[in-house]
């Protein structure tokens, strides 16, 4: 019986790994393909598609996406932190209802949210905000529930006795937040912020309604390009942005990362 179970989980693990890595391998191989049709010929490869990435056609949307994702991560990080703090930690009146309210955007499909943002902007006469400001606002709405949720979880795991211990030792509320609460929930906040960054950086369904021609994000540029041609440069874009996201995750991991969550603090 045990044997059967172990065979089963090894099999599952293998299958999951295949599902995750095979498409990646295919994309990487395609990005190295020598012909302009996407083919798989591992014995012949070229890096010339990667050279194309430095053209402003790809570099500009990339920088725009990075800029938007950074601002979105910062804003939703701060807002999510305060929202979770008020709801979970201070337990302000009606906090349970507020929490569900804060998480409610999760249940609205992104397409619907995109349309809603466009309608809202035109209703209040602010079509001029389409482009970067609207993208940032919409992505924040999208990312906020995730960030709030993650900060809330780490706050819920926070031992209230630590706060009391600091308090009897003479720490004011501000000192307690700065010296005890924040360091303890840092991993939760950082993973929330990383999530927000990735959500914004990869977003298509919302952005597609909000970009202005000539001022596009990277995923939207890829989609537009795809309508006319399918060549290895797209694969190269994908590989590059994947590498970029991995670098971002690695960076945040280094600054007091997710694995530290396991033992409740960084060394």
């Amino acid at each position: 019986m045990n044997r059967l179970i172990s065979i089963f989980y090894w099999f599952s693990l293998g299958a999951v790994l295949c599902f995750i890595t095979l498409p990646l391998i295919v994309v990487v191989a395609a990005s190295l393909s020598p012909t302009s049709a996407v083919t798989l010929q591992p014995w012949e490869w070229t890096g010339r598609w990667y050279a194309d990435l430095w053209s402003s056609r790809w570099l500009d949307p990339f920088l725009a996406s990075v800029k938007i994702a950074t601002v979105v991560a910062a804003i939703s990080g701060v807002l999510g932190l305060f929202a979770a703090y008020a709801v979970v930690y201070e337990r302000i009146p009606g906090s349970d209802a507020l929490m569900s309210c804060l998480l409610s955007p999760l249940s609205v499909p992104q397409i619907v949210k995109g349309v809603a943002v466009v309608l809202f902007l035109s209703m209040i006469g602010l079509q001029g905000f389409l482009g970067t400001p609207a993208l940032i606002a919409a992505h924040v709405v999208l990312a906020l529930p995730f960030v709030t949720r993650m900060v809330a979880t780490s706050l819920a795991n926070f031992d209230a006795n630590l706060d009391r211990a600091a308090q009897v030792l003479g720490a004011s509320k501000l000192q307690r937040i700065r010296l005890v609460v924040l360091p303890m929930i840092k991993p939760g906040v950082l993973s929330g912020v990383t999530f927000a960054f990735i959500i914004s950086f990869n977003n298509i369904p919302l952005s597609v309604f909000l970009v202005r021609p000539g001022d596009s994000t990277l995923p939207i540029t890829v989609i537009n390009y795809l309508e006319y041609s399918l060549d290895p440069v797209l694969a190269a874009v994908n590989v590059a942005s994947m590498a970029f996201i991995l670098a971002v995750i690695f960076l945040f991991e280094k600054i007091g990362g997710f694995s530290a969550q396991l033992h409740g603090g960084s060394k």
């Binding site: 211990a165 600091a166 308090q167 009897v168 030792l169 003479g170 720490a171 303890m184 033992h263 060394k267």
Partner: protein, 360 residues
Amino acid sequence: MNALDIELVSVSKSYASMAVVRDIDLAIPQGEFVSILGPSGCGKTTTLNMIAGFTAPSRGDIRIKGRSQVRVPPERRNIGLVFQNYALFPHMTVTENVAFGLKMKGVRREEAETTVKSALRSVHLEGMGKRYPRELSGGQQQRVALARAIAPRPSVLLLDEPLSNLDLKLREAMRIELKDIQQQLGMTFVYVTHDQEEAMAMSDRVVVMWQGAIAQEGQPAALYREPNSRFVADFIGKSNILAVASTATQAAHLELAVGDGLMLKARKTELSAAIRYCSIRPESIAVLPSGVGGNGFANLLNATVRRVVNLGAAFEIDADLGSDVRLHVLLRATRASVPPSVGDAIRLGIEDADIQPLSA
């Protein structure tokens, strides 16, 4: 006359309409080691939290060094607190943990360093300053928690079951250490526990709580010798508690009728309420061979041995006195003492002063 460090003046606390703490009056002089002892749920932690300032009393006043604290937040009460789960800051080293209170007080760095060193020395943790709490054993963590609490020199230290997460050996060693530290510092300790041995071993005074109220308070020995209620007699140590059917006052004694028709002679006492029970400590009963001796005892009773349990240091004898009365007797195991066997007829000698009449 010592100045009073803490005073509780008819302090009560209710949640919704449930009274959790009722009318507690307590005056703790400077430098005393007081234990608040009681079963789970009797309101010990609530009382401690009111002294610390985390819980506001529903009624009554709490004074520290003569000043009312009702409006003073915990961070300005100058008290120390040691938690059952230690509550060390996991992201700080031992040194940083112990220095925290000093930093909050604005103590200069060089001065703080010396204080931290001496606090760590007094809990025998020199050289551990650079470690993180997770790199320490439970006992070491509890010592750090103690050092952290005493470093800022609070006027009182509150401890809420600080040893209950440690194993028995360590707990017993820490009892002695805690008491030593308290005496060296001359600091007032208020120690909450549900372990009567712990309270007896360390305290100058024990406050027994039951159902939110003080059942009895006094020095450990006095509480043990003269419990004033069935609850206290039973909770502190082991005792034979017998229901008293009626009492009669004689010239020299108080006669208590127990079981169906057995008379016990107790010393005359003044009890305001009617006597309903009496308590006899198992070790105060003498086991005599049948037939001879034992003239010194006010009570000399024939009994049959029903069971003998060897506890190592003593034998626990279950003696049947007839008339529906059974007594547990503790016979100290010495080289000379031969325990009776099951079925033996023995005689039990009890002095009148060892029978404690109880009214509740």
